[in-house]
Each structure stands twice: as structure tokens, then as C-alpha cells.
Symmetry: C2
Subunit: 330 residues, 2 copies
């Protein structure tokens, strides 16, 4: 509308100095109650907002967080990111931060993106997703003392950096327990080849749950790449065994969906449980393990702001429990 409202406008209006207004905003406790209120009122009536650019220039902090938005490899699992992003943005807003996106095709480019974001935009922190064994990104960031949180455990060293994750083993264990309770004994597992932290973890949850129930898991699982087709043929393979399973837990909804197709053709009574509770699962009535993505995002922001606001250097990691969403397939 009219003139630009700066801290000086507010100061004049409240008959105090610029510094007092600044104190009201940043260190309210050192300002007398009465003065503080007068300033607050002026801020409200004038509709004043701190110029982030000016503040940033002086303090070197931008109140900006960055997340990489991935090239949606697999359409099914890609939609997980969607919910995570929303949660992140929402929680960040409450904490006074904003979320900025960036893309990167490979790790080298991603590090180049860090350099740009840090030096040009003075980014405060990063949220990483899908960190790997010995991830060069975390090393790079740690070396430069840039604040970051990973959504996903650093599998080699759990204290390497702050992280938030969902307990995948607990998820598959829960799914297995559900099937056991339903009377199933021969419960199979469709997962990925050994070596990926996430995949091994999910397989372990199933295996341990079976063993605990006194059942030998040997021969009841298969390891394939992720995908619907892979799920279908490996399930068919499983069903062709001497003693085929009467139920199967899968490491992803993609695999589960494939398994479902094999099951429909062979023996529709076989129960199937997926992982991630993607829209596809909801749409097809697939029972699936659901990750609390909104909460995961919120905790990521919590950890990051804890570091940024100097409360603590390395806040306690967070391991969230998934839940089982029951639908028609189990």
C-alpha cells in the first residue's frame, strides 16, 4: 500500500529507538513490559515484518531449510516424499523456518548444490533423505559443520549425525505377528537383495518374529529388486515350492502388488501385506505397513532447529514406530 514499513517506522510510531524494537523481536526479556507492549501494538497496527534479507545480511542466518526433491524414480514409492514434504513445510513454518527445494541428479551435483545454496542463500540447514552406507554428502556437510538431519539411519554409525527414522523391522514384525495371530504358520517374505540397510532391516523384522514364534524362516523368503513384475514372479516362485506359504510380507507395496497378482492367479486365499501404505495400497485394498511421515517430518524439523538454535550440538536420534493398516488382503 503506502510506504514500506521498516523497523524505524515502528520505532517512531511506538516512540522508542530502533534498537528497542529489535530487542522486542529478538530478546524480549530485556525490555520493560510496558514498552514491549507498546512496540508490539505498533508492529501489529503497521503490519510490520522483519526483512529477512536485512536480518540475514547482518546475522548470516537465513531461516531457510533445504530438501532435495527427487526425480520420482518409482511412481509408487515416490508419493511418500509428497507427504513428508508437506509435514516438513508445515512444521518448519511454525518454527519460523521456510523450506526451499533443490534437485540433483547425482551426489557430485548435490554437493555442488550445497555450495551454491550455502554461499548464495546462506542456508541454515539441510534435510537429507535416503542416506547410504558411507554417504559422501553427510561427510561433506559434517566437515563444514553445516547443520543437517537425515530421514533414514546412518547404518554404519548410529551416532554419526542426527537422524529420524521409522523402525522398519518393527513394521514387518508387526505384520508377521498379525498373520500369526490369524493362524498363519508358513509366512513368506519378499524383499530386496542384502546390502541395503532398509531392506535388511525389514527382512530381519519378519525373520525374528517367525523365530520367536518357533518357526524356521528358511526357504520362505526371496530377494529381488523392487518392482511389480519382480514381485509377481518371485511370489509365483514361492508358491511353487513344496510347502508354499499361506501368507507373505513384502518390503514394499510394489512387491506386494506383484505378489497379489500371482496370488490371485494361483490361490486367492493367500494373505499379502505391503510396506509404505502408498496410495496404491489404499486404492487396491492392500493391507500395508504405514510410516508416520508427518511426524517423521516434524521430528526432523525439531532436531534441526535444536541444532540451529544452539540448544544442543547433537540431539538424540528419533526412531518412530510404524503401524499396520488393515485392508482386504490380510
Amino acid at each position: 500500500m503506502s510506504e514500506k514499513v521498516t523497523i524505524a517506522t515502528v520505532a517512531r510510531h511506538a516512540r522508542v529507538s530502533r534498537q528497542t524494537v529489535s530487542n522486542v523481536l529478538n530478546t524480549p526479556h530485556i525490555v520493560r513490559e510496558e514498552t514491549r507492549q507498546r512496540v508490539q501494538e505498533a508492529i501489529a497496527t503497521l503490519g510490520y515484518r522483519v526483512s529477512q534479507a536485512a536480518r540475514q545480511m547482518r546475522t548470516g542466518r537465513s531461516r531457510l531449510l533445504a530438501v532435495r526433491i527427487e526425480p520420482t524414480r518409482d511412481g509408487i514409492n515416490g508419493s511418500v516424499l509428497d507427504r513428508f514434504l508437506h509435514g516438513l513445510t508445515e512444521t518448519a513454518e511454525v518454527a519460523g523456518y521456510r523450506v526451499m527445494l533443490y534437485t540433483a541428479d547425482d551426489t557430485a551435483r548435490e554437493i555442488a548444490a550445497y555450495e551454491d545454496l550455502l554461499s548464495a542463500y546462506d542456508l541454515d540447514g539441510f534435510v537429507l533423505t535416503g542416506t547410504d552406507h558411507g554417504d559422501p554428502r553427510t561427510a561433506w556437510l559434517a566437515e563444514r559443520e553445516v547443520a543437517f538431519v537425515a530421514f533414514g539411519r546412518p547404518w554404519d554409525d548410529l551416532t554419526a549425525h542426527p537422524w529420524v527414522d521409522v523402525d522398519g523391522a518393527a513394521g514387518t514384525a508387526r505384520a508377521t505377528a498379525h498373520l500369526l495371530a490369524r493362524g498363519h504358520r508358513r509366512i513368506g517374505f519378499l524383499g530386496w537383495p542384502a546390502g541395503s540397510g532398509v531392506g535388511d532391516d525389514r527382512r530381519a523384522g519378519w525373520r525374528d518374529a517367525l523365530r520367536e514364534a518357533g518357526i524356521d524362516p528358511a526357504g520362505l523368503d526371496r530377494a529381488v529388486e523392487d518392482g511389480i513384475a519382480e514381485g509377481e514372479w518371485s511370489m509365483r516362485d514361492l508358491l511353487d515350492a513344496d510347502e508354499p506359504p499361506t501368507a507373505v510380507v513384502c518390503a514394499s507395496d510394489s512387491l506386494a502388488l506383484g505378489a497379489l497378482q500371482a496370488v490371485r492367479a494361483a490361490d486367492p486365499a493367500v494373505a499379502v501385506i505391503g510396506f509404505d501404505d502408498t496410495p496404491v495400497a489404499a486404492a487396491t485394498g492392500l493391507t500395508s505397513v504405514s510410516q508416520p511421515l508427518g511426524e517423521a517430518a516434524a521430528r526432523c524439523v525439531d532436531l534441526l532447529t535444536a541444532v540451529l538454535d544452539g540448544d544442543q550440538q547433537s540431539p538424540e536420534p528419533v526412531l518412530l514406530q510404524p503401524s499396520l493398516v488393515l485392508r482386504h488382503t490380510a
Copy 2:
């Protein structure tokens, strides 16, 4: 590493003044070739980057675009946003802009978010998705002369503001034509209640395609809210008619998925085509109309930067053609 590299560091290193460095960056044509190269070299060796905060403070422009990330209403259609966002971020990066996210539960809050983003972050422009008839957001933005593009037509006045959209009518027409070519004559349509621009458009495409083929569309369509259950019972209703359709075109993958369930129970030969080519469609083998989201995003950025860089006040809107992704269901 060492000291912070500012424009002054570069100037000293290249033995020119600050302003000359600034000119190299912003108005290279007024700098002598030889000097320009020397400055460019200095920039490269020192790894200098413009401080966006300082630039923003002086110019009032932030090179930041904002997009709202929605609360993922329907999981199925929600994942469309994912792909769009990725395209947006990627194209924006090339044009020297960054994408910032925000959330808002309703229109009033969204406008409040505009105020904050504009005054606190000096946002340059907005990308709106899902604009409605007489959308208060577009009015608000237009009144304040804030740059924005909508992904989705302003249905009441096509010249109201810059927009990018996908030709939904062409999509359903293409789907219908495909079915006609396959020999189908009684082709039904499952769509939404009249009143939504997008829905009416998609219905019109089907209707006109049928008429053009000399077929009366009367009685062959249903109008229901979006959803799998709705799709299922309205399809069942359609199949119960005297002369049931042998194929059906749907306004969304959700409806199509419901229709598919009804079809499987009644007459598996009936062909079904969805809309949006969501991951669910890919996973379930549903033939669907696919929107070029990546390109749509890119064109949004193009339009927005055209306005921002002052090339033109109101650039020509863009209408993109969807394509038909053939799978098993048609």
C-alpha cells in the same frame, strides 16, 4: 575455508572496482571484453557467489518463487503434485530462481501467507495450482501486481492472468477416439458434477468425440464426486442400464479404479480408461490419459520469468496436449 569472498575480494583480485564486477554480473555488455574476462576468471578462481541477501536488500527482488504444497487430499491425485514440483524446481534452477514451499489450510490463510512471504522474503512470484471460478487468490495477487502463473485455466476469463494448462477435453476425446477405433460404440463417461471447469471440460471432450462419430451420448454418463467407491457404484449403475456401455472413459484414475472393480465383477470385457496416469494406474495396468507435468511446470517457470524479467506484461497462455498411455484395460 578462508575469508568470505565478497564482490570486493573479486574486485581487488581483478584490479577493478566493485561496480565493475557488479556490471560483469548484471550488465556484461557495458564492460570491455578484456576486463570482463579478467573479472570472470577472478570469480572462478575465488569461487565467488553473489550474496542473494545483499542483492535482495538493494533491489527488492529475491529470485524466489513460491508454490503451495497441499495437504494431499486424495492420495491418488496428490502424487501429481510431486512430479510437478520436481519439474518446477529443475526449470527454476536453470533460470536462476529457487522454489520455496508454503502451506495453507484455506484461502484466507493462503492470502495471509502471501503477505508474509512478500514482505518478509520479498518473494518474486507465485505458482498457483487448482484455481477456481472467481478465485480470491488471483484477485488479491493481481490487485497488488504480484507476478504469478496458474497451473489451470481461469475458466471465467481466459485472459485474466498468465496460465498453463493441459487440454483435458483433448485427452478424453483422444481416449474416446481410441475406443471408437477399437470398435466400441456405446462408450460411457464417469465424471464429476457440473460446475467445475476441469470436470466439465473433460466431459465435453468425450461428448463431442462421440457426437462427431455420430453417436448420441445421452444416458451414457454419470456425475459423481471423485472417489473409488463412487466410481464403483456409478459404474455398476451404468452397467445395469438397458443398453450398457462396452467401454468407459473416466475423469480421474480414482473413478476409473472404482469402475474397474465394478467391471471385473460384472463383465471383464468392458474397457476402462482413467485420467492423470497416476502411479496407481501404472501399478494396476490401467490405461490412462497422461498429463505432461514436467513440461507444464517448465512452461509455468517460463511464463513467470518472462513477467519478472520484464520481457512482457502478460505472456501468452500455454495449453498442452495430454497423451494416452495404453495398458491392459483398454
